[in-house]
Every structure is written in C-alpha cells, then in structure tokens.
C-alpha cells in the first residue's frame, strides 16, 4: 500500500478528503450555508470528470493509445444509470404507465424492449454501468489492436465510433429516448434526488470513486504490467520483439479504462439529472484529452487536476463571457501542446528538479 501512495498521491488524496468533508458541511443548514447548496452537485460533477480524465490518462498517458472516443464509454455508463433511474420513476411519469417510461408511451410502444429488462434492480444497473462500456471497449479493441491499428488511425476510428453511437442514440427507434435522452428522474435507491442529503451522498460517492479509480490506475501502472504498458507506449515494435503480446496488454488496459469511464458517467447522470446523445459528440471526447494534456499525461493526479481546472474555467467563462470560451479552449490546446508537453504537473516537476539541482550546486560551491 505504501508503495502505491507516494507523496504526491498522498497530498492529493488528503486534499480530496478534506474537500469531501468540508464542502457538504459548509453548505449544510447547520453551518448557515456558507456556500450555496448547488456547489455540492457542481463539484460532484467535476469529480466525475476527473475520474473520466484518470481513465483516459491510463490509456493515453501510459500506453500511448489516444482515444478520441472516451466520451462514448462515459455516456454508455450514464445511459445504464439513466435507465435504472427511469425505471425508478414507475407510475409517477406524466402518462402514469407503471412500467413503460414516458417516451415509450409517447411512441406508442406496448412493452419494454428486451434490453431494458433488469434495469429496475440497482445491482444489475451497477453491473451494466461497467459491463456495457467494458464490453464495447473489449470488442472494439480486440478488432483494432489485433490488426495493429495504431497512432492517428486508431484515434480517428475511435472518433468514428463515438460519432456512430451519437447518430444511433439520436434515433427514436433505438429505445433510448431519442434526442431528448433520459430525464425527469425522481429518486435513486428510494432516496429523493432533489434532497440535499442525497446530493451529498452522490458527491461523496463521486469522491470515493475518484480515489478508488486513482488507486486502481496507480496499482496497474506501478505493477510489472504497468512497466510493459510504458514500454509499449515508448517502443511498441521493440516490446513485441521482446516477446510480449502487445495487443493483450493494450486490450486489458483499454477495457479497464472504459469501465472506469462508465462509472464516472453513472455518477454524473444523477447529479446533472439528464443524459442525452449530445454526450457522444466527438467534440466532447476531444475535450477530455485537453484535460489530461493540461494536467500532465502519465501522471494520473495531473489528469484529475486538469479536468478540475478546465471544467471550472468552462463554468466560469461560459457564464461570464460565452464568446471567449472557445477562444480560450482552442488557445489552451495550442499552448499546452507547444509549450507544456508535460502538462502543468510536468512543468512543476521540471521546475522543482532544476531548483534542487541549483540548490545542491550552491551547497557544493559553499562546501568547496
């Protein structure tokens, strides 16, 4: 365990813990609502994004797979959760049908499609949250890695994958609510979604998931397997010639990452109250990449911080100067790739190393 938590990770987890405890307390009525209540859900949303960024960092930062379709895994997890929440509404929908969600009644469907069965149970939905994106990633990766599709080609077909899914989910016939998506959720596990306590619970769950995701990613990358992943990233052909089955390693890490993204999506949906096909849009997926790139790829914590920073900037800028947001985001893409190849965390690291080297040189000078 100690090997897994180095100083950086320790600081981050401690900070996360303080945030998790302090924010709900500060927003509670007992504390006189020091901060507005919506902040809990907002930060909870950021935590989900951070988990998504960690998932992408796992494949991109450590294995060199630049997925431009991670938003699809996130959205699939979200849809799995959304389906559970739709079934929870029960007869309280606008049309009052005990089983069918409103949009199906609206489309004149007589019975539940087979793929909606089982989603009235939480454990099944929770399983599907990871299984659905995991399975997609497994099948997609099995085809792609086996035939050695890599580099920009892989990036482009992952983008095509999420684009195709977006088009598919926009269709009413798919049975996922068409372009309105799934919404009007009432409660989760019998708890009212609008209640402050439920929101706090979801917030804490997101924080725990982020910490868990970080630990799993850390555990994978610190293991022998992680060493192989890095080797693949840096010299894929050489690793293959050393006798490693490169495609197996890639497939494993891609699938784990997709399941992690699915969990992030599942926690995101009840906090924002809606999931629609827009989540599949290729632009969303590319935005995830900039979170990781800004924070520092291959650092895990950096990815989480990057997600936090960029989405916070987005919330502030789109509210304050919406015209400026795309300029800022575009500029960020250019600046990070040109001047911050290691991200913010990498830059700090380099700065610290230089400082230390400088300091030790000074001490040597003094000694002599």
């Amino acid at each position: 365990m100690a090997r897994l938590i180095d100083r950086r990770m320790g600081v981050f987890l401690a900070g996360l813990f303080i945030l998790t405890v302090a924010l709900p307390m500060a927003s509670s009525a007992a504390a006189g609502q020091l901060v507005p209540a919506y902040l809990v859900s907002l930060v909870g949303k950021y935590l989900c994004y951070a988990l998504l960024a960690v998932a992408l960092d796992l494949v991109w930062g450590f294995c060199g797979i630049l997925s431009l379709g991670h938003g699809a895994f996130f959205a699939l997890g979200g849809y799995a959760m959304g389906m559970y929440l739709m079934r929870q509404i029960g007869p309280r929908g606008v049309y009052g049908d005990p089983v069918l969600p409103d949009f199906m009644v609206f489309l004149n469907w007589q019975e539940l499609p087979w793929f909606w069965l089982g989603f009235d149970r939480f454990w099944f939905a929770a399983l599907m949250v990871m299984a659905a994106p995991g399975l997609l990633a497994f099948v997609f990766g099995w085809f792609a890695f086996r035939s050695r599709v890599s580099g920009v080609y892989l990036s482009i077909i992952t983008q095509a994958m999420t684009y195709a899914l977006m088009l598919a989910f926009f269709r009413n016939e798919m049975g996922f609510g068409g372009n309105n998506g799934l919404t009007d959720f009432k409660d989760i596990l019998g708890l009212d979604l609008t209640a402050a306590s439920t929101r706090t619970g979801l917030f804490v769950a997101s924080a725990v998931a982020l910490a868990g995701g970080l630990m799993i990613a850390r555990w994978i990358t610190a293991s022998r397997l992680g060493r192989v992943l890095v080797a693949i990233r840096d010299a894929e052909e050489r690793t293959r010639f050393l006798g490693y089955r490169v495609e197996h390693y890639k497939l494993f890490v891609f699938t784990v990452s997709a399941a992690m993204a699915g969990v992030a999506g599942a926690l995101y949906v009840p906090q924002v109250g809606i999931i629609n096909p827009g989540e599949f849009s290729p632009a969303n997926s590319i935005e995830i990449v900039i979170w990781v790139a800004l924070g520092g790829r291959g650092t895990l914590i950096g990815a989480a911080l990057g997600a936090f920073l960029v989405t916070l900037a987005k919330t502030v800028l789109t509210g304050w100067l919406p015209e400026l947001w795309l300029f800022a985001l575009g500029g960020l893409f250019i600046m990070v790739t040109l001047w911050l190849p290691g991200g913010v965390l990498g830059a700090i690291e380099t700065g610290l190393t230089r400082l230390r080297a400088f300091a030790s040189m000074r001490t040597k000078e003094i000694e002599t």
Partner: protein
C-alpha cells in the same frame, strides 16, 4: 430613287395589307361562330348540344373561352338586347364582358341577365370539347398540358379529338404525349385487340408510374391481359433501374463533395503524417469567402453576380491557403514527429477559427446565392439532375486531375512525392523539406478553400459547416489510404455511392452508421487503407 418615290404610299399600302390579312379570313371563319353563339340561349338541351358541337368544330380561338364560361355557368344572355356576355367577378360585383368582341360592358345588376343553363350531359360534353380545343391551341405548352390532362382523365370520349390533334401535330414531344393519351383512352373502349396491343406497347415505352397506373386495371383483361402484365413487369424493372441510377447519381454527387473535402486532408496526411483537424474550418473559410464576395458584388456590381463563384474561387484559395501556411509555420512545424500532439493543436485552431467566424459573421446561416447557370434542374429519363450538383461534380473532377498533374509533372510535385516516400533521403538530396511542408500544407488548405466555394452552393454556410464534414472526410482518407490521390478518389466515390445505395433500404441515419461500422471493420483488414504506401517509409 424608286424607294423615295414609293415612300409616301407605304403607310396606306401597309394599312391596306393589314386590313386584308386580318379582316378577310376572320370574316370568313367567324361568321359561323358568332351566329352559333347567338343561338346558344335558345331551344332545348338537345339543340344546345348540337350548337356546342358545332362551336367546337369551328376551331375559333374564342371558342375555348366561351365554352369554358358556359361550363362554369358564367355565360349569360342580357335580357334587354339578348347580347351574350361572360360574367367576371370583380370588386364591386359582377362585370360583363361581351363574349364575341371581348368588350368590357361594365358592371351588371343582378337579374338583368339570364344564365344559359346546362345539364350533366352537356357539362360532360363541354369538358371534352374544351380539352379537344386546347389540344389544337397554337401554343405548344398549352397543347402539351392538354395532352397530359387528357392522359390523366383517360376518357374514351376524347379519342376523336386526339386523332384530329395527332394529325395536325408537328412537335415530336407533343405528338408522343398525344399518342400516349390516346393509348390510355383506347384501353377503355371496345377497340379491336390489335389496336389495344399497340396501345399497351405505347404505354410500355413511356414506362413511368403514370403508365403503370393506366395499365394496372387491365392486367386481368382476357384479351390483352398477358401483354399488360408483361408491360407492367417491364415498367417495374425499368423503374428499379432508374431508381438505382438516381441513387448512383446522388452517390456521385456526395462523393464529389467528400472528395473535395478530403483531398486536401489526404495530401497533408500523406506528406507530413499530420492530421489537420482544422481542415473542416478551412473549408468553412472558403464558403465564407464566397459569401463575402457575393455581398460585395450585390452592393457594388450586381451584373457580375453570375461570375461571383469564379471570382470567389481564387480568393478562397488565397484566404484558406494563407491561413494554412500560417498554421504550419506557427504550430505544426514545432510538433514535427508528434502526430497526436499535432492533432490536438490543430483541433485548438479549429475551435478558434470557428469562434472567430461566429463572432465576425454571427452564428446564423448566411445566404449564398446560386448563379443562374447553377440553379434549376433537368431530367434524363426518369432521373432528376440539378445543375448545381452537376457543376460541383465537374469541378471536383477538374480539381482532382489538376492536382494529379501538379504532383506528377511539376518540380514541386516531384519534391513533394520524394518527401512523402522518404523524408530523410529527400533531405539528403537537397530538398528543403521544411519549405515543402509549408507549401504542401498551403496547397491542402487552398483546396479546402475551393471545397468551401463548392459547398456554399449546396449546404448551409454557418460556423458549423466544417464540423459536419470533418468525420466524413477522415473516413475517406482512412478508407482510401493516405498519401495517394487515387485513394482519396476511390474512397470518396466508393463511400458516397455505397452510402446513397444503402439509404433507401435503411434510412439516412442508419445508413451512415452502417458505413462507419463498415469502415471501422475495414480498417482491421487494411490498417493503412485501400491504397497503402508500401515499403520501409510507410512504417515510419
């Protein structure tokens, strides 16, 4: 001298000639017509039927109007002097117009005229007579319209009129329409079997949905049923072929658009291994350049409008090309050998360009007009071809072959191909690879600008224009294989046509999804596309 002498007499001569030309034949022909019209209000319905028949036989140009007024109950006789008038609704009540002279007699009081009555039999007769009269109209379009409406009615009562019209007809298209109308009518009569068979053959030759509808009721006819059924199956077959041809045309059109959008991308990807995510935005810049040029022309020189595209094309190349070179010099150059980073940086550029255009021109669609030579459509058989799409196809092919020529025959092309195949070796041979990179990027961007000029004619010009083409043009490049123009060519037209052939089966969205899935699977088989570069260089 002679002319001068004649001059004073000319006006008189001309007037005399005019009078002779106009009055003499008119007098001879219209005597009967006028008398017949005067006779209309009198006698029984049977008498009136005879008069109507006689009027339609006079062939007088006024006959159609009078009979039409009679059919619609607007033909009246004035009670005081018995003049025949046509009543026309006007603002302050009815206005009377003399049926014979066309003179406006002013408003009429209710009850001062008496309607010339008709019954069902007469009205049927009138309709036939009017149809027959327009079949003889001097105006070609009217005759064609009349023939088509007779075709649609299929009334056997028209046969006589059709025969008369056919005998007098000299225009081939109208004659065909008349023969077809006659064929439909013949099928409903007791005509001899031979004549009916000939009619079936005529309709079979026509071969469209209307002919199908006309033939269908006779499929179980004991005498000609076999022929009709065979003709029907032939027509169906022909229509299937035409439907496929139409879809192939749509596919060619889509393919030409995809090729224009993808070809620049293929060049930059092939030469530099760089994915330019801002390519779609360069297309958008081309479209907005067209918009700006048209705005300027509308304001300053509207007569130039038909030339607006030809003016916009070089400007679009200039605008998009220089933005492209700026991107290469400013950003891409520093990321050499890091294709994934280039992808992200150019995505950043695309966001900035999008927002810049949105800020300058506004978020809404901008109106880009079609020059007159690009609007409208024409028909080939049962296929509709719009001029704009045909011109875009021609334009795309022209761009493609011009580019091919540049790459194959020019020194710049030679250098470019050398860099594509083996960059270090090309550098050793003294090629300034940095310069080639910049020029290639500029060339690719310039072609994107041209694509924008073409797309402005068929798509909405909005800040999102580029986004809607970027995934598709990537698919073309990935499918066709980078670094090979023929790859982009085959990829674009292959995907375009397959997509449009799929659409009738699956619908537009599902068709597109299937295409994407197909490409994702195709990449498994040929990870480097249809026309992959081979050799050591391709692995780099």
């Amino acid at each position: 001298m002679k002319i001068v002498l004649c001059l004073p007499f000319r006006p008189y001569l001309a007037a005399l000639l005019m009078a002779l030309l106009v009055v003499l034949p008119a007098a001879g022909r219209t005597a009967g017509f006028e008398e017949l019209v005067e006779r209309l209000p009198h006698g029984s319905y049977a008498d009136r039927a005879k008069v109507i028949d006689a009027i339609s036989r006079t062939g007088d140009p006024r006959a159609a109007e009078v009979l039409n007024a009679l059919l619609e109950g607007r033909l009246h006789a004035r009670k005081d002097d018995g003049r025949i008038v046509i009543l026309v609704d006007s603002a302050g009540g009815a206005t009377a117009i003399d049926a014979l002279s066309g003179e406006n007699l002013g408003g009429v009081l209710a009850g001062s005229t008496e309607k010339i009555k008709t019954n069902n039999r007469l009205r049927g007769m009138l309709r036939t007579a009017i149809g027959a009269l327009s079949l003889m109209s001097p105006d070609r379009e009217t005759r064609l319209m009349a023939a088509q409406s007779v075709f649609a009615s299929g009334d056997p009562a028209n046969i006589e009129a059709l025969d008369a019209a056919l005998a007098a007809e000299s225009d081939r298209q109208v004659a065909t329409a008349l023969a077809e109308a006659r064929a439909v009518a013949i099928l409903d009569t007791d005509a001899p079997v031979e004549e009916k068979r000939a009619a079936v053959a005529i309709l079979r030759a026509r071969g469209d949905a209307a002919a199908q509808a006309a033939l269908a009721p006779h499929a179980s006819d004991p005498a000609i049923g076999n022929e009709v059924r065979e003709a029907l199956s032939r027509i169906e077959q022909a229509q299937r072929v035409w439907a496929i041809a139409q879809n192939v045309w749509y596919g060619l059109s889509l393919g030409s658009v995809l090729m224009l959008a993808a070809i620049g991308l293929a060049i930059t990807f092939g030469v530099m291994g760089v994915i330019n995510m801002a390519h779609g935005e360069l297309v958008m810049l081309g479209a907005y350049t067209t918009f700006a040029v048209q705005e300027a022309i509308r304001g300053a020189a509207p007569w130039l409008f038909d030339w607006s595209l030809l003016i916009a094309a070089p400007l679009a190349v200039l605008v998009a090309g220089s933005v492209g070179i700026a991107i290469e010099r400013g950003i891409v150059r520093h990321l050499y050998g890091r294709p994934l980073e280039t992808l992200l940086a150019t995505w950043g550029v695309s966001l900035i360009l999008q927002q810049a255009v949105r800020t300058i021109f506004g978020p809404n669609n901008r109106e880009v007009g079609n020059p007159s030579w690009m609007s409208g459509a024409f028909e080939i058989g049962q296929m509709t071809v719009t001029w704009s799409r045909l011109w875009i196809l021609i334009f795309a092919l022209a761009v493609f072959f011009a580019l091919l020529l540049v790459l194959r025959r020019s020194f710049f092309g030679l250098q470019m191909r050398a860099v594509t195949q083996n960059r270090p070796m090309a550098a050793e041979m003294g090629i300034d690879t940095g310069r080639i990179d910049a020029l290639t990027f500029g060339l690719g961007a310039g072609i994107a600008g041209l694509a924008g000029v073409a797309l402005s004619q068929i798509d909405n010009v909005s800040p999102n224009l580029g986004q809607s083409y970027i995934v598709d043009s990537f698919m073309v490049v990935v499918f066709g294989g980078a670094g090979n123009l023929w790859g982009a060519f085959a990829g674009a037209f292959g995907l375009g046509i397959t997509n449009k052939l799929l659409e009738p089966w699956t619908g537009a969205v599902l068709g597109k999804i299937l295409m994407l899935v197909f490409i994702i699977l195709f990449i498994q088989k040929r990870p480097r596309g249809l026309f992959a570069l081979r050799g050591r260089a391709a692995e780099a």
